[in-house]
Symmetry: C2
Subunit: 708 residues, 2 copies
């Protein structure tokens, strides 16, 4: 990746003197950004631009170059790439559109280019993107005009959409946010987000990374990168539902993701998910500040109203406002002009014109380990005190810096005061106290990421016996008896059950199991038993059972395809317990995912489900359970005894290991599982397991023992 | 109020030549805002400022003035107000601080001023505020310097905090938002929010009103004003919890409100509640545009990425993206340069450089009654097409204007393009498509306000019989038998019950009622029966009952104060049904409020409750019920039959009427009420009614028949 960001020389292919020529914009941006390396414009019509001669062909280059940037009509791109290969240019940026984002024909062209880069060992950024920027060396490859560049700083931006990337960079310039590097992924034919992220995470100039993605293929790798990172990773992934997928497909060829899986993955990996560009501008202002490691915030404000607004934001974002240390409260009280200002938190300093007090307060807060972050609402500033106020702000910033205390400054003052912070101190400020608090919350999300993301892949159960059971069904749903036999192998208890081929066998089974029982009709084509009327509950005696059996027999004759074999499963009826659902499935980007949620009547109306990317540890499973409302109930409320959360955690862990070890398992649904208040264990009453022929892919190789 | 906004002449009291003099700032703002009326600075030291002589005393005024603006030390204010009274000046703005916001001494001073204005018939704005502004006539009374004024426009701002108000006005200037009038409430000694709002709602120059309040006393009146308004009312009320109340009290002397009551009141009255200043800036940009009357949005974007982001925002804010009309899809497809762009919604117009297509598309959308609003993402704009692009934008804006179709423009282009919209077209634009969609959502909130806010005050039940029952208990909780007797009078069914003074009476009662029964211990000091063990459930036969009675008898002897009378209530045991809670209480700002929510085990963990300000109609009660998750369940899910929502609605209506008619009723809790799936009515199993001596106040006069 290095040469994409630090080329010492480069060729720009597709330049002409025509005023509408787009590739000329690349040269223009490079010159205006102050790029110090050699620039060689190339275009068949020759001429000159920006004082450079336009070479008619790459072959005319007077020296080898590190990088070629290509912006020609798409149909010429394969030839240009081949030329690069012949000339030993191994890094190519293709900005031209007209590839896979435009359908079949473009896809063929893209395949052609892919073959060429493999042949020549070329690495390629794009096509259909804006290339890279590196403000450390004045590198700026986008063709669209960048009227003003952001100041060099610590944030690096990776954007799938060039337009969104340029728009963000324009706003970074306006808001005084420092940019380090930029890469526009475009169609991600070769270089994609994970490789870029890995590079940026080890890049000394990058303090934080922002990813704007419309599609994600290797989600697990992204998670692993983010989780091991010492730098905050922000991610915006708006392509999550039916509203967006059509457009994102034609725009950058991406598959929509499930929003809940994304949220789970971000949580596990400590990525900060941002849902809008406005949120990005807020979060980015804390880049380079120390992380917020707790919930306790002190707000200092010159305006009482802004203090109230900041306190409300703390409530919204889950921060506490601890009381001020005793000595500090006394100090503020004593120095307040009227002597009446209450030294509560938020601190209204409106009445204190002696700025040394602010500094003394800040010193004390910096020393106090009970304070996790400070919000300063700066202003209003009265004309005669301007210089003093600025000096005070500088002292406060330096104190925070020295003490590694996160300080967020919102400003309620004139544009000149704002630009003092932004331009002279290099510190972007927040428009409002609410935004300052929100930024602290994003920082806290990153700082609070779990230490270990994934659990053991290797299952704690007998692989051979599970494999044997799964082998019964090459594709489709396991039979109910097979599914129920699988569960104990995973350590999941089920009620007593037997299969029966006749009424007599049913009656015998019920005698063995003891009444009450329930009957379930089992047949390969009957996936949704309950909806079809194939489940008969609460059979108290042989008479009930006989009637229920007759019902199922009639159903089998009327509903099943002629000649399809069927049998009846007799199961002990379980009366009590809270209903929960445990399940697992595969996400196209993140692979195996396990779910836990409420069952029963509430399922339809409360979306009470928590997801995790597999495999998970028992501790993570417990956190997952407690994330739901039903989990809170099972922990014990209103004096009721708790349920067996450990047993539920073990099942989730086992499901996650099953998915990791057996890539043919597509979906598992244990619905319902009953959890008994008072720790009397759990019972799975029904199970659906879907298998499909194995497509071997990453993260799915069986029998691999690895603790991550 | 007129003279506070349209004075033809005014005196500014407290002016001196001292550069630190604050009142001089008022003269300065007036001059710079271009105030055309007469200005008379007044201050004991005389001199001159801004070309005006400073009169040594109000008595020296050469003519009567409409308004006096006072900014002297607080202790001099009573004398200045008295002088105004003597001179016949009946409108006074007091900007000085040092009154009730600073505690006891200040409160005495405020009382003194209050007595004076009553004596002289003076109306007063403030104290401890920044007065008024009216950009129609260049009136600008704040003392703090306003470096630049917003353009005159349609939004009027009422702010309790002067600092917050000035900060917002500075941002309105920056964002090109038009301001009409401004009033800083300060301590609200005389003029308060409702009178101001009423004035602004009839003021021809005001198109929408924004209220920033830290305290609220007459919430019902505010609701009534907002509900009858033809102009949107935005409200920010951050002072809702423990975090903010301490500071807001010392800052403007306000009582914290319950967030849920505020949300209910806003919903009923159609006020748009904003939770931050950033939200204000978003919402304000739609002021003056037609309201958004539905959920169907079309997004037009030149950038595919911005289109995806806009679509994601639609998902977040509950908008649908309907497919484009057939003809329109064909048109876009045909005119797209590559012919490949998919004419879905959001519409990616990135490939269309012929701007007449944009206009044709907009024309069609304006005609289409199936489209409720349009988002245009404008840009990027390539230099050579700038003029054409601007013309196109103007045409689109005019088309929307003509067709009364809400159009929100987000801009992804240079600062100059932004200022073209803001400064030349007078149309503030959104930074990002997500903000445009969010603004549409605020507009929809207002447009979707219910037609009728409050229901009948007059109860449909026998007032006399209710009054007689309530009269048994002058203060405290009604006895359980009284509370249960009250319910049928309100139309609320209860299970059969009888009281019993002995085991024999209990056994007889159970025989009458039929087993199973439950027993409840009744005694004046026993408020929380269940927690104390005073409720015995599921007694199946005389043996169970005898044991349960013995338990209660022992409890009464051990727990109740010596000699306190007690009895036992025998009630038919109800087994089935979903548990809900219905209740009512009084809010300090909004008066009687009714609540509906889930009961049982879910109550603790799901905050599943909906509130309404009383009185409510049956239709509103139904909406209230359906707002909760349990309401959704009771409507019928997963093939289960619905419960009797009409019966529940009637109970809520009756509770609301009870609260209106009987101001002595402080709280009612019907917990639990059982609602039976399959429309078999409802039963209230327990009731707690708290009464207190009547403090007659507004909205609480009994027997008043009025339909609002």
């Amino acid at each position: 990746m290095e040469k994409f960001f630090y080329p010492q020389s480069l060729a720009v292919v597709g330049v002409s003197e025509n005023p509408y020529n787009l590739a000329r914009g690349i040269v223009d941006n490079l010159v205006r950004a102050g790029y110090q390396g050699d620039i060689f414009p190339v275009g068949p019509r020759g001429g000159s631009t920006h004082g450079f001669s336009i070479l008619p062909h790459l072959r005319e280059l007077p020296q080898p170059v590190d990088l070629a940037v290509v912006l020609t009509p798409a149909r010429f791109v394969p030839q240009v790439v081949a030329d690069c290969g012949e000339l030993g240019i191994t890094r190519v940026v293709v900005e031209s559109g007209g590839f896979s984002e435009l359908g079949e024909q473009g896809r063929a062209l893209e395949d052609e280019v892919r073959a060429l880069i493999q042949e020549y060992g070329i690495r390629l950024v794009g096509p259909n993107g804006l290339g890279t920027m590196n403000l450390e060396i004045g590198l700026a490859l986008p063709f669209s005009q960048i009227p003003a560049f952001p100041r060099p700083g610590g944030l690096s931006v990776v954007s799938q959409s060039g337009g969104v990337g340029m728009h963000l960079i324009a706003w970074m310039t306006r808001e005084g946010l420092g940019l380090n590097k930029f890469l526009s992924l475009g169609n991600k034919m070769d270089v994609a987000e994970n490789e870029t992220l890995a590079y940026l995470l080890q890049d000394p100039g990058t303090q934080a990374v922002y990813l704007y993605l419309e599609g994600l293929e290797e989600g697990r790798e992204l998670m692993a990168l983010a989780q091991q990172s010492q730098k905050p990773v922000f991610i915006q992934l708006p392509n999550v539902g039916p509203e967006t997928s059509a457009i994102a497909w034609s725009h950058t060829a991406s598959l929509a993701s499930d929003e809940r899986v994304i949220d789970a993955a971000c949580k596990q990996a400590g990525m900060v998910r941002l849902k809008s560009q406005a949120e990005f501008l807020v979060a980015a202002k804390m880049v380079g500040r120390p992380p917020v490691r707790g919930n306790r915030v002190v707000i200092l404000s010159r305006s009482g109203g802004e203090a109230v607004i900041g306190a409300y934001a703390c409530r919204q974002w889950g921060f506490k406002l601890p009381p001020l240390p005793q000595g500090l409260a006394a100090l503020i009280h004593e120095r307040s002009r009227s002597g009446i200002i209450k030294p509560t938190n938020p601190v209204d300093l409106g009445d204190i014109f002696d700025f040394t007090v602010y500094c003394e307060v800040m010193e004390a807060l910096c020393r106090d380990p009970e304070v996790d972050a400070v919000v300063l609402n700066y202003g209003p500033v009265y004309e005669p005190e301007r210089e003093e106020a600025r000096k005070m702000a500088k002292v406060l910033i330096d104190l925070a810096e020295e003490a590694h205390k996160p300080l967020a400054i919102s400003i309620c003052a004139s544009l000149e005061e704002e630009s003092y912070f932004r331009d002279e101190l290099g510190l972007p400020v927040f428009r409002f106290p609410g935004e300052a608090v929100r930024a602290l919350a994003y920082s806290r999300t990153w700082a609070a990421r779990p230490e270990v993301m994934l659990g053991r892949k290797s299952p704690r159960f007998h692989l051979e016996r599970v494999a044997a059971l799964l082998a019964h069904t090459p594709t489709g749903f396991l039979s109910l008896p097979d599914a129920l036999s699988l569960l104990p192998l995973l350590g999941v208890p089920v009620p007593g059950w037997q299969t029966a081929a006749s009424l007599e066998e049913c009656l015998a089974a019920a005698r063995d199991l003891g009444y009450p029982v329930c009957l379930k009709l089992c047949a390969a084509s009957l996936i949704h038993k309950t909806e079809a009327g194939g489940v008969q509950l609460n059979l108290l005696n042989p008479k009930d059972l006989t009637a229920a059996y007759a019902h199922l027999e009639a159903l089998a004759q009327n509903v099943l395809p002629l000649g399809e074999p069927w049998e009846v499963l007799v199961m002990s009826q379980v009366q009590e317990g809270e209903e929960v659902i445990l399940g697992a499935r595969r996400d196209h980007a993140f692979g195996p995912v396990v779910a836990f949620g409420a069952g029963g009547i509430w399922t339809e109306v409360v979306e009470d489900v928590a997801l995790r990317v597999a495999p998970i540890s028992a501790e993570e499973a417990r956190r997952q359970i407690l994330e739901t409302k039903i989990g809170q109930i099972l922990r014990g409320v209103r004096g009721k005894p708790p349920a067996d959360l450990d047993a539920l955690s073990r099942v989730l862990t086992a499901l996650s290991q099953l998915m990791m070890a057996f890539p043919q398992v597509q979906e598992v649904d244990l619905n319902p599982v009953r959890a008994f208040l008072g720790s009397r264990g759990i019972l799975a009453l029904d199970a659906r397991v879907k298998v499909a022929p194995v497509k071997m892919g990453r993260g799915s190789s069986p029998h691999e023992d690895q603790t991550e």
